[in-house]
Symmetry: D3
Subunit: 244 residues, 6 copies
């Protein structure tokens, strides 16, 4: 992870997971989406896109050529947005919007998990900047989140499949987790054969272990220290993470 990769965004990081490279940036805007106007609350949203030459198998047409947001991108950016909103107490953000842009420069599997994990680093950078320049008085971050993909390949549960193995996996699962070990989002999908409860359990264990390591790397990227445990107490429990 190369933090502060570009200079104009409020937070930016270039995530390099093997041959998967995602540039994640966070931009703060002093406006809020219409449905929150007057609520005093802020919003975190995400956009995800691939450069035309990011994947193997030939150039992909840009969305604007077809005048349609790619449906897979739409699904992924909703996932990233929901996951990152789970990390923030939106009522402490003020009427601001933070947009996390995840642009895939090169893809080799796992781009949505790299985007969530990198997006969290960019988001945290932007929040710290707002705290240090006085735009925010109280830290609105409730927790860190990160994501990892697991799957079942040739009958064996496996972590972080690259594209070659991922494309012949029987099951593909994305696990978004908070740094206290609880789940934020879980998306499992049988690609070839439905999966049993036992297989699910094996994948979740694998994911948990992988995520522990990722949280350590992300903590290093955002300043070297693990995030102090903010008590997930009464206040935050009552606050909604829910989004649109």
């Amino acid at each position: 992870m190369v933090r502060d990769y570009t200079k104009h965004a409020d937070g930016s990081v270039l995530v390099k997971w093997g041959d998967t490279w995602v540039l994640c940036t966070a931009c703060v805007e002093e406006k809020t989406p219409p449905f929150l106007k007057g609520s005093g609350r802020g919003w975190v949203t995400a956009e995800y896109a691939m450069l035309p030459s990011a994947t193997g198998g030939g150039r992909r047409e840009r969305d604007i050529k077809k005048l349609k947001l790619d449906a897979r991108s739409a699904e992924i950016q909703r996932l990233i947005g929901r996951s990152l909103r789970a990390a923030v107490d939106l009522s402490l953000l003020g009427e601001r919007q933070i947009t996390i842009d995840c642009d895939v420069l090169q893809a080799d599997g796992g781009t949505r998990c790299a985007s969530i994990t990198g997006g969290m680093v960019a988001l945290e950078t932007a929040v710290r900047k707002m705290l240090s320049d006085g735009r925010l008085a109280v830290d609105p971050l409730l927790r860190r989140v990160a994501a990892v993909s697991v799957g079942i390949c040739d009958g064996v549960p496996a972590l972080d499949l690259d594209y070659a193995r991922d494309s012949r996996a029987e099951v593909d699962m994305n696990v978004v987790m908070a740094d206290d070990g609880r789940f934020v989002e879980l998306q499992g999908c049988a690609e070839r054969e439905p999966f049993s409860g036992a297989q699910l359990a094996a994948m979740l264990t694998l994911a948990k272990n992988g995520l522990r390591r990722i949280f350590r790397i992300a903590a290093a990227a955002t300043g070297g220290e693990a995030r102090r445990p903010r008590r997930p107490g009464a206040a935050s429990r009552k606050r909604s993470l829910r989004g649109g």
Copy 2:
């Protein structure tokens, strides 16, 4: 479930789950998407939309007015499509496309699960019609799938939340299952607070029980008899359910 609700589609059913009404139809076209041309394989895809007056809280603008497919609809129709493709051996379908249209006439929570379950009935009806009129020689259906939503509301796991309870739930999870009890798709999302492994287990148990009942109802709707167990043996295991 009112089967054969409309007459022009190859299969159609009006699903009424409480105040959630979804019209699911299946249309067979003798063409295949470009990426399958010449492969001998077929395709199953889904489209999902809400009528403008389907929800409470005021009229929703039609997508065509905004020239954009609603991102939530895009996400849902990809889920429906993936789930239903898991029910079919696409290599036995021939170069045909079956489109499942799920149009929500009235919404009160759980529309995506109603769509998957109703879509399966419409799909099965269309397949039987093709078998009886000779367009298909071998039944391409591998299994039935159905879906149910579970959640955690005020700390208690609960099945099939209506809109009022769903909108204040802490966790929302959609479980798509095959009729042999294995998982096809799992989408869980922390709306207010991350969830633990124990909470996940409780929700999955609840879902399993609910789905057993739903499979009985769906079986009744498509002809009264439970689906004969097609051996999920060597052949089908090797075949891919994977989609785009």
Copy 3:
């Protein structure tokens, strides 16, 4: 006609004319289009769409897939809107917009006439609701309107052609009439051969008789009693029914 078919709209009716089924709903919004802002006047508009599986001859692509409102739909919804505005004194509506959505679940000819007639019932239901909950003090309805299609088929004038006969008719004419027997809109179109003045007169007589019956049915649907004759006197004569 099944009135109050769905629950979230302010008025709703499922019109079943043979195999033509149209769901008509009326939604009231406390806003007015830009060109009426500050005028104190309201607006009535209509949207018309077909479900993809509504017609025979194969599935129709959704408009949003092509990013274009179907031109035939555009023409029809303008007709519905103009016809229904003729029933309302817009200056008595306040700065409100009532949108009539006409969604064709199944089509077998005559969908635009079914939409106008059903739209009138939905509109009247919504207006009565506003009168009873005090949002309106004075009834803004000037008259009822209804529509019927007539044509010339094999040289013989005929009422209400189904799709099979309609598609080989020589002339196709839609007649929108007020309940006092005067014309609101007239759209006649030579499909195969121009038509003479005598043929026009024969079609109009047929339409008039058909509409008398339809007004009785619509009156029953909206409350059993025929609409009290509101004097089409000085005031209303001066008011404009004109729309955009």
Copy 4:
């Protein structure tokens, strides 16, 4: 009417009716729309647009800025297309498409009638050109059509209203007629008050007289002689003028 106004189109005419100026061109393309492929039949279609500065009351945004074909234009160009197809035996045209473009340079009421009448001249010019250069062996024109608008203004039926009078008319009616005096299309619309059968009759008489004069002018524009009466006999009666 200034015939052969521009040089690249196969037929072109600048219609000047008072301050309403419409440039009508006909372009022949050696292709046919998909639904006619292999049928041996041709097609006539129309497009209608206004320049941004064509009307009083301020500049109109171009459609491409809003990414939407103006709904009024869509309605009008369908009317023009239907009307002109009524003039042609499409089965004699071969698999060709003739597109009539009607671009309003300046508007002062009656643009749709000017477009139909001018479009007919452009169409006839293009057909004669194809006959003279041998692309067509048999004249496919069945008849000439022309259009005129009538209305009721201050209670009095009147022909050809300019914009100032048209915008306060009670009734607005467009009459498209063949040169044998029969109707091709009839579109009447109550703008302020429904109209009676007697009023309808008065307007139609007025229209008929107006159209007789217009046919003489159009004949002059396309070559000075009135169109020889092609027997509207057995053959043409069986042919369909119907369009999409």
Copy 5:
């Protein structure tokens, strides 16, 4: 040049350069684009379009059919807008926008230069109108601009190529000049072979001579007298012509 060609625009001119006919109109609107709100400054912008039948080689599809502004048109209208803004002191215009519409009725090479030159006439007409009706107190025009195309054809520099020669030219260059002989915009493009500094100089000399004549014609079109030399002094020098 036919000035005051249409009546609804604030300025209008039909430019006929050989077989290239462009209708240029100027419309003043009492609004300013968002990025100038509150600045007290105005804006001049341009739109350029071709009628479908304007060119040889077959009918061109309208942009709205493809839902995309033609990229060549986008490039040209940006050039026209920049060139005309160079003629105006935007800070003297007030918060107004003047839109120059350039619609090509017929094309035979040089449409962008005809548009700039005609656009200047329409703009000047509109400004004079505002001066005479008191909407403007001070003349905001700094200078006149005009444009001419030069090229190298068969090795010889040539002025004002028609389409036939232009399409086989080796170099194509558009020169926009102010009436004091200085350059406003220069766009040269090697179509077949790069060009040398000597060739550039030859083309610029040719352009300069051609433009001197054009300025005389344009001056005649806007009132017979050459524009009084407004001292291009201290004030105007400091003002920015820059646009978006």
Copy 6:
């Protein structure tokens, strides 16, 4: 310049000119645009886009959100495409299309010149790859092209303005040159004040010197040796570089 930056494209380079970073990739497709089908000729085209966070002054909305290709991007990508086609003998390319994608990761002035220069490197890399794997027998490259921006800032001609100086420059000029010192494209634009012939000459001299250095750097990036002088003889002179 970091060559071979990403692995899936046929050629790729990350250009870093100060704080302007552009990722240029070249992708070869075995297809040709419709207007070249059957001609035996190939095509080179370019697409240009900025990431949302690439510029200072706040996040830019993605084109797909507005459903419109940014007009400035459209203009720039046409310039890049024309410039690079001038480097290739398209008739030697076969019916192939090479798309140059220029994605700006960070912008600080001069992105279009960086795109042309980097695009040339990516193009040359892709061509060499095709030569070495036998897809091309003869080298279709005629010459190298590169671009540099010059301007007049505070009255003084200056090379390669960064954004801060560029935005207050009086004149902005982009010069695209071939490696034999001749001009490929010239785009000069008066931003505040028209410029004289003397100022033009000064800018061109500056550009020429700057480009000599850039050609040396680009040569180094594509293999260390200067491009052998391909005789710009009879054959290439007759071939057209012209594009759409």
